[in-house]
């Protein structure tokens, strides 16, 4: 295919929250698909395999790298969820005004962090 002129890419735009939320949506989604789903299957598979296999799973899950992975995946879940809800709203044609779009972008990123902290606080205390 002939070399065609490309539209300006990442380097030329002034960064804004709407760009970050879009990039994070793809990164968290593909990250969960490639890393989170194997973890989900390991969890279900070790439960099905019996107590010894599940004990090995818990050993990994409770180690420092397991906690980093699980907290990271839970943040990816809540971030993808909140920016996904933003997508549902925008699918209806709402939220395209610049200031509204910017506010909801920041809200979806912050909301995900709040949900992640609240989730782990609830798991560890309740």
């Amino acid at each position: 295919m002939a070399a065609r002129p490309l539209s300006p890419h990442l380097t030329i735009w002034k960064w804004g929250p709407h760009m970050l939320v879009s990039i994070l949506h793809r990164a968290t989604g593909d990250g969960m698909a490639l890393v989170g789903l194997p973890v989900l299957l390991y969890w279900l598979g070790s439960l099905a395999a019996g107590p010894e296999a599940y004990a090995t799973f818990l050993e990994h899950a409770n180690s420092w790298y397991g906690m980093v992975l699980l907290v990271g995946l839970s943040w990816a879940f809540f971030n993808h969820m909140s920016s996904g809800i933003r997508h549902f709203v925008m699918d209806m044609g709402a939220g395209y005004d610049l200031d509204v779009n910017k506010r909801w972008s920041i809200g979806s990123i912050l909301g995900a962090v709040v949900l992640t902290v609240a989730f782990w606080a609830a798991v560890w205390t309740l």
């Binding site: 793809r26 698909a33 279900l44 818990l58 798991v123």
Partner: protein, 157 residues
């Protein structure tokens, strides 16, 4: 680029006509992931602990087992659609793109089948365990009625 003519479609250019189907399924499965993910999150918070005994008993119950099995199907379907878009955006060589999407489909079905069968095996294991427990209880009761003579472990006390 193809302009929607027959020869354009043969060459793989222009619209394939499946875009809105892909788009809708991405949203249907997103709703499924939302419900299933929240169910799992609430489960992790509400269960007293995440030990083998607690989790294997909980996920053998009809409603949790159904929710997790459906969640597995929904997330793998959603991931298949999402990773397909990733490949279409960044893999430009037609042969490589075709091969990777083929492998993606195989991997998605493999993962979903493994997850669902794990849930099924949890359910059947729990049922067999319950029957074994009942049989053990009956045996112990019978031994008790016969005076407990020769009961295992009795002599050591």
């Amino acid at each position: 680029m193809g302009n929607g003519t027959t020869i354009g479609k043969v060459r793989g250019l222009g619209s394939s006509g499946h875009g809105s189907h892909h788009w809708l399924l991405q949203r249907f499965t997103a709703a499924g992931n939302f419900l299933g993910g929240l169910f799992l999150a609430v489960t992790f918070i509400a269960l007293p602990d995440l030990s083998y005994e607690t989790l294997s008993a909980w996920f053998a119950k009809p409603f949790p087992a159904t929710m997790v099995a459906l969640f597995v199907i929904s997330v793998f379907w959603h991931a298949r659609l999402g990773l397909q878009v990733l490949l279409e955006d960044y893999v430009h060589t037609p042969g490589n793109k075709f091969t990777l999407i083929l492998l993606l489909n195989l991997a998605a079905f493999l993962g979903a089948a493994f997850g669902v069968l794990s849930v099924v095996s949890l359910v059947t294991h729990q049922q067999s365990l319950t029957q074994a427990d009942v049989q053990e209880q009956i045996t112990q009761t019978l031994q008790g009625m016969m005076g407990g003579a020769g009961a295992p472990g009795g002599a050591a006390q």
